[in-house]
Amino acid sequence: MNALLISIWLLPLVGAILLWAFGPQLNRAAGVVGTFVVFFSFGLTVVLFDVARAPGGLHVALGSWVPGFDFGLLLDPLALLWALVITGIGGLIHAYAIGYMWSDKAIARFFAYMNFFVFAMLTLVLSDNFVGLLVGWGLVGLASYFLISFWFYKPSAVAAGRKAFVINVFGDIGLMLAIFVIFAQLGSLGYASVFSKVGHLSTPTLLLVCVALFVACAAKSAQVPLHTWLPDAMEGPTPVSALIHAATMVTAGVYLIARCAPIFNASPQSQELVGIIGALTALTGAILGMAQWDIKRVLAYSTMSQIGYMIMGVGVGAYEAGVLHFWTHAFFKAQLFLGAGLVIHALHDEQDLRKMGGLRRRMPFAFLAMLLGTLAIIGFPGLSGFFSKDAVIYGVLERGHPMLFGVGVLVAGLTAYYMFRMIFIAFFGTYRGELDDAAVGVTERAGSPEPEDHAVHLPDWVMQGPVAILMIGTVGAGWFAIGGTASPWYRFFGDTFGTSAASAGVSGFPELASTILVLVIVAVGFAVAYARYGSPNAMAHAVDQLRNESRTMPPILVHAFYVDDALDALFVRPARALGTFFARFVDPHVIDGGVKDLVWLASALGLVFRVLQNGLVRTYAFTLVAGAAAILVYAAWMGSR
């Protein structure tokens, strides 16, 4: 058992090292090796399914540094769920990437990074203590940096990678701070011992720990105001966007809060804060998603919005609901990204929605994938997203947060609008790819297109197969949760999350009413999208309308609420000014200046003493004699006393 768990954890690392070492030899076979390794890990995870559900899960002690610093692996239901998604959906995305990256020369490097990411993410979720969590937390940020900047010859990709890395490190600092406080107060870092001693923490300390943990979540999971790296991260290859920036890494924040449920349960104020930020993120993401033209950026903002839902759910204490939304979202968002990848691939790297149109007939499979994913994300009854979103929205109300409930309902409507806006513009009407950029209002490119050489193509099924498998999950992943708290989903977790102090406020509002309200709002969102982009009338004037809309887009939406500019003014520019100050004054005058003064002193002394070194032997001899005479005189004088 223990060996199996360690294998799950280390296999992807072995794969990464193999691909790094033998990449040039393996060349395109690297894709197959990388994919196989991840699927093997997935197989082992499935084997351990029942073991992980035993009380206490499966625990493997790896070693101890000093008392309180014990390293080990823990596979309990929560870690199991994440491990299944990381290796399962990760494996499918690896398989898809074989087709997507086939014509890229650096395919071995790509799969090495992808395997490394899977290893890092498994470190994060399988660790049984906060230090291992931090290590995984940092490593996934590094892997994300590698993969966003994968096409390092594109300056925009490098800039996006750097931005993501810096913001993620900001989150790491939050996590580190929380760990310091926990260790200082409780003297241990293992989950089990920390959670059993949460009661010893005072309220302000608890609040500090929770806020620090949440800073880490916000940076990793793209919560307001640390979300600006996520849309830029779409510069990476599309499979990366699907795996890291939709399905797994960005949900690490959800994992962290769910994992630290005992801590958050003890601090209702911080739960309130997390819920509010989550709702704000959901709303911001949805509003910005409505104003995007780049197909991947639409999906990026929708990811942000959906993670907002998850954070809102786990924040207010509806852990099962928030985690359920992670589970279903992993399927349909991966599918949406991979579907978008099919479109981008087939259109020779066109990502602008305005240059698409009418793709329904050209690529029916991609249309099916995108439509199914869209229906799932907006919560079409029966599909996976319906159950999870409903659970989150009602869970929030159930725990006495009517305001957040209202935001959740509103965002559901906005989601329906912007997702169907994308579907209608890209897949209905007539194809606009042959038109000029200006005719459809494209003035500047949000992201740079994905570079590829189209000399070789694999058969379609290589990329369509994984998407088809994801469809099963997109439809059915939510069915486990049918039946509310008695469902297999809730029994799966048992008492993993404990009970929240704030979960008392059950309102009289029945769940059915909440569901119907959400559905009505979703229908309204869909109707607006249909009227604006999908009706025969709108179709007829699509070109003019798109051009018009591009021109009249409110600047505040184009600039994404100026969050980037605000961060720039608040942090980047002061930091740069400080750097300039040090470069102009401190370095030349203090640090360099000190060294220069020393040099001047040495050369001045040299000037004085070089006079003695005149090269005349007789002078040296005289000096010697004079010295000897001086010693003689001194000795005589001393002797005479």
Binding site: F609, R610, V611, L612, Q613, N614, G615, L616, V617, R618, A621, F622, V625
Partner: protein, 101 residues
């Protein structure tokens, strides 16, 4: 067995002083070397005299050591003089000042 070393030491001092003056004042390297030789032997004389006075053989041993060192010094000194003389026909120690700082 009373031995008074004073005359020997006085002679030693005189010879030593002559040697010092020779080194400081003469510019011919051969003369300088000879003057150094004088100083060695002045020291030897003093050593032997004191050795006799204190009835201690260490002074004799030291004198022999000094003779050996003096021989080595003469060999090296003359070799340097020959080397310098090969480079230029100058035999003035003041002209050989290429080590000036």
């Amino acid at each position: 067995m009373n031995f008074d070393p004073s005359p020997y030491v006085a002679l030693s001092a005189v010879i030593f002083f002559i040697g010092v003056l020779g080194v400081l004042l003469r510019r011919n390297p051969l003369i300088v070397l000879m003057s150094i030789e004088l100083m060695f032997n002045a020291a030897n004389l003093a050593l032997v005299a004191f050795s006799r006075a204190w009835v201690n053989n260490a002074g004799h041993v030291f004198a022999f050591l000094v003779i050996t060192v003096a021989a080595a010094e003469a060999a090296i000194g003359l070799a340097i003089v020959v080397a310098v003389f090969r480079r230029s026909t100058n035999v003035d120690v003041d002209e050989v000042a290429s080590m000036r700082g």
